[in-house]
Each structure stands twice: as structure tokens, then as C-alpha cells.
């Protein structure tokens, strides 16, 4: 049952939020308008998951690529994993355990566990659409901007809220997702490259992935 949707969550969220630098004077509309993915971006990420069922926080790290039609993650720790999400399918490769799993996405905005972020992605370019699904609060203080999103009741029963933030004039560097059972996950992101270089790096990893496809 293990599949890559948690990382996909991270990827998709980043797709929405990472690529565009944000000016200090930006309003929410400006931020949303610039959240649409344009050229590819390469990030290094660190994920920390806090769960009551775990003795300790769980951590993972690796590289994340965001492109217009693909989200791609190469997790390096705690063990190597490759995950690719396109509109039609989610591919999960675990070379250490020789696991190749494909999940056909009939509705790629409805993947368990990451639905809120996917819905956010789909509507993030429109404040009106966003406000249909979330209660939205945007703040900008002490050199950082923060977008606080609370899913409407019944829309996603497991998620209490999402918080996306970054430095003034910068893109997203932190995402916090809190669940109704008090578990939460944090993603910390560091931009590595963008444009042609990021595309080339992603392509190299994609080639590696294709050779593993069943």
C-alpha cells in the first residue's frame, strides 16, 4: 500500500508555490498569479513528519523538480526512491527493493492524502476558486509572507489547515500541513537551479526512470 502520494503532495504543493519569487509588496492576488509553474525548477528538500503513532519524527530528503506537466522527486534519504507524477499516472520506483508501481490517475486532483494540495494547485491561480474551497488568510510581516488555508468542512475531513510561507521577495521555502488528529508535516525547500539547467538535470533522472519502467 506504500505509494508515493505523500511525496507527490510535496511536489504538487511546490508546483503551486515555489517557482515565482514574490515581491515584498505583493498582495495575495500577486502571489497567486505568479504561482503557476512556468520554467522547470530544481529544489533540495527536507521533510519532517510528526505522527503520534511514531516514536520519533520521521525525516526524508532529496531533490525535487517542478515542471509544467510533471512533478519529479528523487529521495535520497532514508533510502533512494524515484517518484514521477504526470496528469495520467503516478510512477513509484524503489530500486533498492526492486519495486515498480504505477497508479493510473483517473482524477489527478483526488489522490488520497494530497487532495487538499491538488485542489489548491488546480485553483491557485484564481482567488475566487481558492476561496470556494478554503478559508484564506494572507499575511506579510517581519520579512516573511504566509498563506494560511483552512479547508472548508466536508471538503477534506483529515486536514485541519495548510500554511505556506517564504521570505519577502522570495518563493516558498516552507510548507506546513496539519491534520485533524494533530499529526503534522513540514517541508523545507532550498532552490538549486531553474530553467535549462533544471530541465537537463530532471531529464537525466527521467531517463534513469524510463529504463526501469515495466
Amino acid at each position: 500500500m506504500r505509494s508515493p502520494t505523500r511525496q507527490a503532495l510535496r511536489l504538487l504543493a511546490l508546483l503551486l508555490l515555489l517557482p515565482a519569487p514574490v515581491l515584498a509588496t505583493d498582495t495575495l492576488d500577486d502571489v497567486l498569479a505568479r504561482m503557476q509553474a512556468g520554467q522547470p525548477h530544481h529544489y533540495r528538500y527536507r521533510e519532517i513528519r510528526h505522527m503520534e503513532l511514531l516514536e520519533d519524527d520521521w525525516q526524508a530528503q532529496g531533490d525535487l523538480f517542478v515542471a509544467e506537466r510533471r512533478l519529479f522527486i528523487a529521495q535520497s534519504l532514508p533510502r533512494p526512491l524515484l517518484i514521477s507524477i504526470t496528469a495520467s499516472r503516478m510512477l513509484y520506483l524503489d530500486p533498492q527493493h526492486d519495486v515498480r508501481r504505477v497508479r493510473i490517475l483517473q482524477d489527478n486532483t483526488n489522490i488520497p492524502g494530497i487532495t487538499p494540495l491538488l485542489q489548491f494547485f488546480r485553483t491557485s491561480h484564481s482567488r475566487a476558486e481558492l476561496e470556494k474551497r478554503f478559508r484564506v488568510r494572507f499575511t506579510s510581516t517581519q520579512g516573511r509572507w504566509t498563506l494560511h488555508l483552512v479547508p472548508d468542512s466536508g471538503w477534506h475531513r483529515f486536514v485541519r489547515y495548510l500554511e505556506i510561507s517564504g521570505n519577502e521577495s522570495q518563493g516558498t521555502d516552507h510548507i506546513h500541513l496539519e491534520f485533524t488528529d494533530n499529526d503534522y508535516t513540514d517541508w523545507f525547500l532550498t532552490a538549486q537551479s531553474s530553467g535549462a539547467q533544471a530541465a537537463a538535470e530532471m531529464e537525466a533522472l527521467l531517463q534513469q526512470t524510463r529504463s526501469w519502467q515495466p
Binding site: M1, R2, R49, L54, V102, P112, D181, D183
Partner: protein, 760 residues
């Protein structure tokens, strides 16, 4: 004259009624099979499976499109199809997220009962240190996986997440599409009645339109292939419909042309056409009334019935012209009745073969023959009086009756015939492969194979049938078979197999699982489990305790209405008094699988093709016996009529010789004979026996007239049956090349075998 007028009205009325009310079927299984025992009923059920008969497999190839564009295209196709009122559902062969969730909801409470096929080994293994470590690793991975909420929601009733083990087993046990770049398959289930090929054809047209519209927007970058039972059904229906049209037109036109050549009289043609039209309309209405429908093949064959039924009016008209006018008809009545009865006996024998198609043909033909006889006797004189047709044949073969000619021809022809019979009949072989009778489906089959290479799916038509007195027994036997199938899979003999388990297990197995779980679940086991949780960094205090299970076993009825039911319902079937569980097989070596399960009680390797062939062989053997009995009855009838067995044999001789010669010819050219050849031989025998009776009886005392009448009959029969050679359906070719030469031979052999030997 007055009666003739009423006849015209009646004729038009019957024709109109037949055209407007008759229900025509084209399903080939209607024609060939009948569920007269449990096995054949099961076979028919399989062939006519409602689900299969409504399902399309649609393959889309888009090698030049990127995944996003391909996905958008498929989504658009799905949306358009789902909006079609005739479409029940469209899916890609993998359960949707919603269906998967529903499955988990249904099965999660039964995670212990469905845990293993060998609970006595597997539960101790699960609770060993390694087993617990493996399971807790699975729990941890699930919690740290993409859907931790699903894992959390299961934990309260399944703290070890055994439901995930079940889900993994299910993934291995269901047909699914292979993942290929640039290729996708959609399963489209329609609501259209399986027998409504016209509606299926309209849906296929709509599917093509949807595809073309969407493909055009992508610059024709997508190639679509469609297969499925409805595709085959529509193709066969079209082929049969075209055959009916082609054969009817050709047959009618050929007979009309021949008639005009022979009689040079449009009125003679009109009179005969009226009689034949009434005959066919009556036969169609009676057949429809008895069977509830008329099969397309019966109709196609029915048009050739003209070739048989036309003999009576022709015989009468030629005699009426050449002898003592219309009054002669009364003198011909007796031999015509005899000829008609012998023919009907032949068909009655065929009807008793058990072959449903032949039963319908027999009724159709017998009705036609009796109607033609009655019309010849009671309607023809009035029509002759009304239309005054010229009845003098302009063609003559009476030179064959000249003694010097027959003296020269007889020995030569009889020797050649004897050689053909002896040499050919010894090489004769019969085939029960009904595929050879269907219209050419090779192109469709290739497309079907092409689409199925993209699926990990069942091999159509071959599976294991595990039977029992009830579901419980069948499930138990099927469960015992799984280890053997796994072994075959490991040996490379069997690509995949799809048993009922883990969707359902026998009550006994569920009970064993529960018992083992409850027995092993002591304080020590719980402690070991908590220790394993801690070893994997899981917070043991937050996990609910392991509890003994006390649940009623999961029953098939519990699954009705859930997303499991469509998966399981086709695998549990009623087989007469027994219940059977079907284990679908992927690509496999039939011989080795068959041998592997041979000797296991209750288990049978089922091959549709083998079963069809066995059934067809049974029908053919039965039909052959019935035909021989029929011929014997005809012989006895003739012996009674002529008060001499010798005379009866003489009358039958031309018919018997012509049939043997044609069979010999088939043997010499190496063509295997099948059921439709048998039908053709019966038709030929029926017609040729008539010639023998007419020739031998010679009621008007002038054999030249009789022979001339027989010649015209033989030519019309040969022409109308020869028209079947233009059909696409091989079954009709078999008839064409059996009946046409046989009736010509029967006609030619009459003067050679009967002249001067039968006193009248």
C-alpha cells in the same frame, strides 16, 4: 378465376405480414447450440454471457503524443462515452480510488478470515520474530506512505494492517492493463441488450464518431482499435444480412432469367413467383410463430427452398402444357404428394438431430414444401386460367433418353461415378470445427489479439471449472487447487491465474483463519507484537490491542451491491444441480495445465472450442443416424407405394448415386465435410428422390415430358443453390457446392439408372 383473385389478395397479405412481423436473429450461437444438458447449457451461457456480450475493449495508441495530451484525450473520450445513454460504465481496467476504498471498507472487517490459504502455517509465521518485523515494517511504510490517513483509519479494527496484505493479494489476482507508454485500453460496458445487434451497431457508429471528432483536434495522432463480443456479433450480422440480400437477389434473378429462357414467358414467371412468394411467406410466418424468431441463416437457406418447392409447379406446368392441359394436374397429384412426403421425412429426421439451426430449417422447409404442394394442387390451375402462361419449355435434354445415347453413356458414366465414389469416399473426413462455417473473422480476431496483448487478462474461452454440490464445496476445491496453479506459474506454464480467493473464501477456510488467529493470540503474542512495533520506531502505546475475532463468515450475498460483486459474480456459476467456481487463466500451455489438473475430482479444464467441437460432433453423429433412419423410412414408404422393395431401391438409386458421387468428389479434393454439408446432402437427396419418383411414375405416359419437367426443375435448383456460392458465409458455400452438382447429377442419372427398369 374468382379463387385466383382471392389467392392474389391472400398472397400479398401473407407477404406483408411476414415482412412486418418477423423477428430475425443473427446470433450464431442461436443457430448452432441449444442448452439441452448442463454442460451445453453452461457453454451457451458462456457464449451468450450478458456481461461479455455488452462489453467493448477499446485500445488507443498514441505514440507521438506526450502523456498529458494522451490523458486529456482519454478523459475526453470517457466523458463523451459516459454521457451516452447506452453506456453503463467506462473504466480503464484498474479499480478507481472510490472503488478501492469501497473494497477496503467491505473487506477490512474480514482481514483475519481472509488472511491465508494456509492459516496453520501462515499465522505462526506472521507471529514469528521475522514475520512480525516484516508486518510492522509494512505498517510503518503505510503510515509514512502517501496515504497515512487510510492506514490510520484501518488501525482501530486492524492494528496489524492485515487488510493491506489482502489488498496486495487482490492486486495479483485480478486482470489488469499492462503499463505501456503511448497505449491505453478502456473497457466500455453498454446497457444494450445482447441480442440487439442493430443498437450495438448504432453504438459502434457513435463510438467511431466520438473518436474521429476528438482525434481530428489532435491531428489524427491517435489510432483506435475496438474489439469485444458485440463487434463480432455486428460483423456476423452484417455479413449474414449481406448474404441474405445477395443470395436472395442473385437466386431470384437467376431463376427468373432461367425461367424466361426456358419458357420465354413473363406470365409463367409471374405465376411461379406468386406461388413461391406465398410459399416463403407461409414458411417464414410458421417458423416465426413456433420459434419466436427466424434465424438469418434459415432465411438465407430459405431462399434456396425456392429451388426445391419450385419443382412442383414446374412439373405441373410443363405437363399441363405438353399433355392434356390443366386437367393433367390431378393425375400428377399422387406422385407429387409422395415426393413431398419423402422430402418432409428427410427434414423431420434432420429436425431430430437436436441441432437448433437444423430444427428451424427443417420446420421452415417442411412448411414450404407442404405449402408449395397445396398451392400447386389448388391454386395453380386457377392462376393458369387467369394468366394463360406459355408453358412450353424451349430447352430440351430429351436426347439423353435416346436408347443409343444411354447405351453409350451409361457404362462410361457409371464407371467414372463408381471410381469417384470408391476413391473419394475412402478419403472423406468429417470436421466439427464450427469456425469454418462462420463468416471470415480473421481480421477481427487479429485486432482482438492485438488489444489483448496490452492486458494481463484471461485467455478467452479456456478456464478451470471447479464444481461442487454447493458454493462452499466449490470454493473449498478451488482453494485446494491454488498451490498447484502457483507451481505451474513458477514453472512458466501459466502466465497468470485469477481464482475467487481472496475476493471470497470458503466458510471452512474463513473459520480456520479465525480459529488460528484466536489460538495464537495469547499474551505472549501481544507482547511480541508490541516489541516489534517498538523495534520499528512505532509508538506501541498508541496502537489498539490485538483482539480475538468473532465474525460471521463473509458470504457472496454480503458482496452484492459492492464494488466486489462485478469482480466475483462472473466466477460463481450454476451448472445444472451443481455450483461451480471458475478460475480464469492467463496465457498458458493448454496441454500441461490440462494434465496438471487431470485426476483432481471436481476440477475440469474447460475449453470452449473443444466443447463446441464435441457438441457439434455429437450433433453431427446424431444427425447422421437420424438421416439414415429417415432414408430408411423413405425407402419403406416407396416400397409400400410401389409394393416392391426392388422398385423402391431403383427409384432411390439416382438420388443415392448422386449423393455418393458428390461426397466422393469432396473426398478427392480433400475438403472436410461438416454439418452444413450434411444438410446439403439431405436437400440434394430430397430433390433427387423427387426426380426419381416423377421419372418412375411418369403419370402422363410420356417420359419426354416428365424428363423435360425434371430438367427445368434441376436447372432452377442448381441455379438457386449455386447462388449461395456468392455468399461470404462458408456455411452457405458448403450448401452451394453440395446441392447444385448433386441435383444436376440426380437429373442426369435418372435416364441412365431408371430408364426401362421401373414399370409404371
Amino acid at each position: 378465376m374468382k379463387h385466383a383473385g382471392w389467392f392474389l389478395v391472400l398472397s400479398a397479405g401473407l407477404a406483408l405480414l411476414a415482412i412486418t412481423t418477423t423477428r430475425i436473429h443473427t446470433d450464431i450461437t442461436d443457430f448452432f447450440f441449444h442448452g439441452d444438458d448442463a454442460d451445453s447449457a453452461f457453454l451457451v451461457n458462456q457464449l451468450q454471457s450478458d456481461e461479455l456480450a455488452r462489453r467493448y475493449l477499446v485500445g488507443f495508441s498514441y505514440p507521438d503524443l506526450d502523456e498529458e495530451a494522451g490523458f486529456d484525450f482519454l478523459t475526453a473520450v470517457r466523458q463523451r462515452l459516459e454521457a451516452d445513454p447506452d453506456v453503463q460504465r467506462v473504466n480503464s481496467g484498474r479499480p478507481s480510488e472510490a472503488a478501492l476504498r469501497q473494497l477496503i471498507q467491505v473487506y477490512a472487517p474480514h482481514h483475519v478470515q481472509l488472511f491465508s490459504l494456509q492459516p496453520e502455517q501462515d499465522f505462526p509465521t506472521l507471529f514469528s520474530t521475522q514475520g512480525l518485523d516484516a508486518q510492522e515494517l509494512r505498517v510503518r511504510e503505510a503510515l509514512l506512505g502517501p496515504d497515512p490517513q487510510l492506514a490510520k483509519s484501518l488501525l482501530h479494527e486492524d492494528p496489524m494492517l492485515l487488510t493491506l496484505n489482502w489488498l496486495q493479494k487482490l492486486g495479483r489476482s485480478t486482470p489488469r492493463p499492462l503499463t505501456r507508454q503511448g497505449y491505453s485500453v478502456l473497457f466500455v460496458d453498454t446497457r444494450i441488450d445482447a441480442t440487439d445487434t442493430a443498437a450495438q451497431a448504432r453504438f459502434q457508429q457513435r463510438l467511431q464518431t466520438i473518436f474521429k471528432q476528438l482525434d481530428a483536434s489532435l491531428g489524427d495522432a491517435v489510432h483506435m482499435e475496438v474489439t469485444g463480443v458485440p463487434v463480432f456479433a455486428v460483423h456476423i450480422k452484417n455479413a449474414v444480412a449481406q448474404d441474405i440480400q445477395r443470395v436472395s437477389i442473385l437466386s431470384a434473378a437467376s431463376v427468373a432469367l432461367l425461367f424466361l429462357l426456358v419458357f420465354r414467358s413473363g406470365r409463367a414467371l409471374l405465376v411461379t413467383a406468386l406461388l413461391m412468394l406465398t410459399t416463403l411467406a407461409t414458411a417464414v410466418l410458421v417458423t416465426d410463430g413456433v420459434f419466436g424468431y427466424v434465424h438469418g441463416l434459415t432465411l438465407a437457406l430459405g431462399t434456396t427452398l425456392i429451388g426445391v418447392c419450385i419443382d412442383y409447379p414446374i412439373h405441373a406446368m410443363v405437363h399441363a402444357s405438353e399433355a392434356a392441359g390443366a386437367a393433367t394436374l390431378q393425375r400428377l397429384w399422387s406422385p407429387m404428394i409422395l415426393a413431398g412426403i419423402t422430402t418432409v421425412i428427410g427434414y423431420a429426421a434432420l429436425a431430430m438431430s437436436g441441432f437448433p439451426g437444423l430444427q428451424q430449417i427443417a420446420l421452415f422447409s417442411a412448411t414450404g414444401i407442404l405449402t408449395a404442394l397445396l398451392l400447386t394442387r389448388f391454386a395453380l390451375p386457377g392462376l393458369i386460367a387467369m394468366f394463360h402462361p406459355s408453358l412450353h419449355p424451349r430447352l430440351s435434354a430429351n436426347w439423353l433418353l435416346a436408347e443409343p445415347v444411354t447405351r453409350i453413356l451409361r457404362p462410361g458414366i457409371l464407371v467414372v461415378a463408381a471410381v469417384v465414389v470408391v476413391a473419394g469416399d475412402s478419403r472423406l473426413h468429417w470436421s466439427s470445427d464450427l469456425n469454418t462455417l462462420s463468416p471470415d473473422l480473421e481480421q477481427l480476431r487479429q485486432r482482438d489479439r492485438s488489444i489483448r496483448t496490452h492486458l494481463v487478462t484471461v485467455e478467452p474461452g479456456r478456464f478451470l471449472l471447479v464444481s461442487g454440490n454447493n458454493i462452499e464445496q466449490a470454493l473449498q476445491s478451488a482453494e485446494q487447487l491454488i498451490p498447484r496453479l502457483r507451481q505451474l506459474h513458477d514453472e512458466g506454464v501459466l502466465d497468470a491465474f485469477f481464482p475467487v480467493y481472496p475476493l471470497l473464501a470458503s466458510r471452512a477456510l474463513q473459520q480456520r483463519n479465525e480459529t488460528q488467529w484466536n489460538e495464537i493470540l495469547d499474551a505472549a503474542a501481544s507482547t511480541h507484537w508490541r516489541q516489534a512495533l517498538e523495534r520499528h520506531g512505532l509508538n506501541a502505546r498508541t496502537f489498539p490491542p490485538l483482539q480475538p475475532e468473532r465474525l460471521a463468515p463473509l458470504q457472496p450475498a454480503d458482496l452484492k451491491g459492492t464494488s466486489a460483486w462485478p469482480l466475483i459474480s462472473s466466477q460463481l456459476v450454476q451448472l445444472g444441480e451443481q455450483t461451480a467456481a471458475i478460475i480464469w487463466l492467463g496465457h498458458h500451455d493448454p496441454g500441461r495445465v490440462r494434465r496438471a489438473v487431470a485426476g483432481i475430482p471436481q476440477v475440469r479444464y474447460f475449453s470452449q472450442k473443444d466443447s463446441i467441437t464435441r457438441l457439434a460432433t455429437r450433433y453431427r453423429e446424431h444427425a447422421t443416424t437420424m438421416l439414415l433412419l429417415g432414408m430408411l423410412t423413405i425407402l419403406l414408404l416407396l416400397a409400400v407405394r410401389y409394393r416392391s422393395l426392388r422398385r423402391a431401391l431403383q427409384v432411390l438409386a439416382p438420388a443415392a448415386a448422386s449423393i455418393l458421387i458428390v461426397m466422393g468428389a469432396w473426398g478427392l479434393v480433400g475438403v472436410p465435410l461438416g454439418m452444413l454439408h450434411l444438410v446439403g446432402l439431405l436437400l440434394a437427396a430430397a430433390i433427387c428422390v423427387d426426380y426419381g419418383i416423377f421419372f418412375a411414375d411418369n403419370r402422363v405416359g410420356d417420359r419426354r415430358i416428365t424428363f423435360q419437367a425434371i430438367m427445368v426443375s434441376a436447372l432452377t435448383s442448381a441455379v438457386s443453390f449455386g447462388a449461395l456460392g456468392a455468399a461470404q458465409t462458408p456455411a452457405l458455400h458448403a450448401l452451394a457446392w453440395t446441392v447444385a452438382p448433386a441435383v444436376l447429377l440426380g437429373f442426369l442419372l435418372c435416364p441412365l439408372m431408371l430408364r426401362g427398369r421401373v414399370s409404371c
